[in-house]
Structure formats: structure tokens, C-alpha cells
């Protein structure tokens, strides 16, 4: 019996991620944008984005994320928010907070924005601003987090966790409570894009991770005891697992990302795969979702080689993440090497060992900016 029937009808995309731009004033060394973002083509226009949103909603998407890069760089953001809200999306703005102002918070609220997520790099200004590559980032983030809360939005704070800030976990949690956050995402780096390039300098050791995990669990228990609604979501790196995550809930099953230049992707890092992905400038979203070779590439399970092909877990995890398989084994068809059945699992083990001994300082990381992007791809 094949639990995952390749001929099963494909459901609609329920989540649309609109990566409005790759421009960003910050330079996080763990940025998930492609390394070669600096040579990406023109951004979609306002009219093109509004059309993409309309098509996505018609297909069934209900959740919409505006991200980037830094989406606030787009001068038409309020217009896009208004358009999206009128279509019936639940609209999420995922921002670094740089470029936000009280006036914009109010304008977005008037346009119908449902939620603003602000990301922090650390719990103190020195480390935060060193990681972000900006000397005023932390102060601005604090001010904007307060403005967002004051405007009545649900407050979601996001911290990307790695070996240089993981020791701050208790302070991070205190800061979130002071800011009266409703949700806190503590997302350990996922190693794609710039983060993969900087993996050795970012990946926490197992000991660091376990310590942070128990701090989060203790804090959560205390919140629960007080009946406090602040919700903590700790995403641990799958490099410390022996079975892969069910990446994106299955390729082309729920998520649809549109990159700044209109490239449509089943996940925001899929761009690094050697697959030709369609573009919304030349194909309708319905055609892209249901019929394009790019989106059908890893649907079902007919593409799977061993050990996944004969594995009883293939309907649970879909063989893991295609990008991770590609980055670590050179072939995106392979089992995600996080899986201990993968013949390449030793590469994950080697990364763990490296994390135990890494001495990389903040200065050794490759920061995400246009200059470094061009240096990497001088071609």
C-alpha cells in the first residue's frame, strides 16, 4: 500500500508568502535570502502584486505574509495591505522594524493589517546591533515593538537563535514579557542561504541547546502557572534530530512563495535548487500551482530513491527537506541527511562535532549585504 498517493488531487495553497523585495537595511549573517540576491531581476510592480494576491485568494489562500528583505522598503506597502485585506486575507507583516514609524503603524492599521511580527537579533543593544550591522537597530526595534502593542495588534516577537545569542535566553524571555508579547518565536537558525554559508559560526553546540531548551521549558511552566497567555515557540535545529522535519508539510501542498522578481516557489529557500521555477509574469498562479513542472517536481513519492522509497515513514516526513538534501549531498532527490538512514548522515554528525569546537567570532561571519553578494557571484 502506498499511503501517499501520487495521483491524489492536489489541494489549494492556503498560505501565500509575498517576498516584496530583497532590499534590506540590515545584514543578518543568518538571512535566508539567496546568496546571489544582488543579481535578482526587477521587483514586481504594485499592480502585479495586487494581481498575484487576487489570484492567490481565488485559489484559496487565507494567510498572507509580507516579507523580504525588508518589506517596509516598498513605498506601496499600505496599498498592498489594503488590497489584501479587502480580498479577505489574514495579513501578516514580517519586519525588522527598521523603517517603521508611529505614522506607518497607524496607516497599516487603517489599511486593515492584522498582525506585525518584529524580529530581534539579541536582548541587548551591543550584540543586537553587531549582528544586524546597524548601530541604531535595537533602540528602533524597542520603540516599534511598543508602538505595535499600543496600536492593539497581537504582538509577535521573533528571535533567531544561534551560538552567539543562545546564552541570553533568560534575558530574551524577560524582554519579551516586558514588551507584553503575545507570541514569541525562538527560531534556531535553519541553515539555508546566508546561514548555510555561516553555519559553522552560527550553529549552537548540543550543550548550549539543551541548556536553552530547559530555560524555555521552565519559563513556559511559570507562564502557565500564572495563566499568562504569552506563548513560546522554540524551534530547535533539525541538525540535532535523527529524523527530518516534514518540510513545508509536503512540497507544493500548502505553501506558495512569490519572490521579489515574480519567481514562484514551493518554499522560500527552494530557489537554490537546480529546478526551473515558473514566474507570475508569464503564467497564472493556478497554472503554476497545479501544472508547472517546478511545483510538480517533488509532489507524491514517485521521485524518491532509497532509503526513502521503501521506508514506512515516507508519508510522514516526505523524505525531509529538498534544499537540505541538495546543500549537503549535492542531489536534491536524496533523503534529507538529517535522517539517520541516509548514507550521508555523517555530514550532520560532523557539523555537530564542529559546533562543539567552533571558535568563530562575530567578525568571522559573512554579513548579508549587496557587496558580499556580488563578491560571491562575480561570474
Amino acid at each position: 500500500m502506498t499511503p501517499l498517493d501520487a495521483s491524489a488531487p492536489v489541494g489549494p495553497p492556503l498560505w501565500l508568502l509575498a517576498e516584496l523585495t530583497y532590499r534590506c537595511p540590515l545584514q543578518c549573517p543568518y538571512c535566508s535570502n539567496p546568496l546571489d540576491f544582488a543579481r535578482s531581476g526587477d521587483e514586481l510592480s504594485t499592480a502585479q502584486w495586487l494581481d498575484v494576491l487576487r489570484q492567490g485568494r481565488e485559489l484559496g489562500a487565507a494567510q498572507l505574509g509580507f516579507s523580504g528583505g525588508e518589506p517596509l522598503v516598498r513605498q506601496d506597502l499600505a496599498e498592498l495591505i489594503g488590497g489584501a485585506r479587502a480580498l479577505g486575507y489574514y495579513t501578516n507583516l514580517i519586519t525588522s522594524g527598521l523603517g517603521l514609524s508611529d505614522a506607518k503603524v497607524a496607516a497599516f492599521a487603517a489599511a486593515g493589517l492584522d498582525h506585525i511580527q518584529i524580529s530581534f537579533q539579541a536582548s541587548d543593544p551591543e550584540l543586537n546591533d553587531a549582528l544586524a550591522g546597524s548601530r541604531k537597530a535595537f533602540r528602533q526595534k524597542l520603540a516599534m515593538a511598543r508602538a505595535v502593542k499600543a496600536a492593539g495588534y497581537p504582538m509577535v516577537l521573533n528571535f533567531v537563535i544561534h551560538r552567539h545569542n543562545i546564552h541570553q535566553m533568560p534575558q530574551i524571555l524577560q524582554l519579551c514579557e516586558q514588551l507584553d508579547a503575545d507570541y514569541v518565536e525562538l527560531a534556531t537558525c535553519q541553515y539555508y542561504g546566508w546561514a548555510f554559508r555561516n553555519r559553522e559560526g552560527l550553529m549552537p553546540s548540543q550543550a548550549q541547546l539543551r541548556a536553552a531548551e530547559s530555560q524555555v521549558n521552565d519559563y513556559r511552566a511559570r507562564l502557565h502557572a500564572r495563566g499568562a497567555p504569552m506563548k513560546l515557540i522554540f524551534v530547535t535545529p533539525d541538525y540535532y534530530e535523527s529524523r527530518p522535519k516534514a518540510c513545508m508539510n509536503g512540497w507544493g501542498s500548502l505553501f506558495l512563495t512569490v519572490a521579489p522578481d515574480g519567481t514562484a516557489l514551493p518554499c522560500h529557500s527552494a530557489r537554490l535548487l537546480p529546478i526551473d521555477f515558473p514566474n507570475v509574469r508569464t503564467m497564472s498562479l493556478a497554472e503554476i500551482w497545479y501544472h508547472s513542472p517546478g511545483f510538480n517536481h517533488y509532489r507524491g513519492d514517485a521521485w524518491m530513491p532509497e532509503p526513502c522509497r521503501s521506508c514506512e515513514d515516507k508519508a510522514r516526513d516526505f523524505g525531509g527537506c529538498r534544499c537540505q538534501a541538495y546543500l549537503l549531498t549535492g542531489d536534491a532527490d536524496n533523503a534529507d541527511p538529517v535522517c539517520d538512514k541516509s548514507p550521508y548522515h555523517d555530514r550532520i554528525l560532523a557539523a555537530r562535532t564542529a559546533a562543539d569546537h567552533a571558535r568563530t567570532g562575530l567578525d568571522d561571519l559573512l554579513y548579508r549585504n549587496a557587496r558580499n553578494s556580488r563578491l560571491l557571484y562575480r561570474g
Binding site: L14, L59, G60, A62, Y90, D114, H115, G152, P154, P229
Partner: protein, 87 residues
């Protein structure tokens, strides 16, 4: 005064034709509701108290028997999930 539930701020209940069900939308998340959960939350408008909600559902579903205990239990669960607040 009887307690009045309302959908928590930042949450939105919405009928989704593509999924043929009510969904509850919140920051970066979505819960698909089954028929009865959808019907109960649809009656939560920030003005009706629990008795009025039950009464309303009784009128809508006259053959459903005594809805009271199920509705109260669901609202308690919705509160635990922080989907609703009391005012």
C-alpha cells in the same frame, strides 16, 4: 451579569469556500473548525452571553438535543486555547 465571550483580539473567524469550513485565523496560523465548532464560534459576537448563544443554536438546530453541555465545554476549550476572552 452573565459572562459574554468574544473572539480574542487579533483572531478572525471566517468562512473559507475553498476549504468548505470555518477557519480561525491568527498570527501566522489557522485552525480549521468542524461544523459544530464553527457554528458555536459564529454565534460569539461579543454581545451574546452563553445562554443566548445556546438558545440561538437550539433554534438553528432543533433536532440536536440538549446542546448546553457541549457548547459550554467547547467554550471552555476555546478559552484554554486563548481563542476567546470573557468580558
Amino acid at each position: 451579569m452573565n459572562p459574554v465571550p468574544r473572539i480574542r483580539r487579533g483572531f478572525r473567524l471566517q468562512w473559507e469556500p475553498a476549504q468548505a469550513c470555518f477557519v480561525l485565523l491568527y498570527p501566522e496560523g489557522m485552525v480549521r473548525l468542524n461544523g459544530s465548532a464553527g457554528a458555536i464560534l459564529e454565534a460569539v459576537d461579543g454581545e451574546r452571553d452563553v445562554e443566548t448563544i445556546i438558545e440561538r443554536l437550539r433554534t438553528r438546530f432543533p433536532d440536536a438535543g440538549d446542546l448546553g453541555p457541549d457548547v459550554r465545554e467547547f467554550l471552555r476549550e476555546a478559552e484554554r486555547q486563548h481563542w476567546i476572552e470573557w468580558q
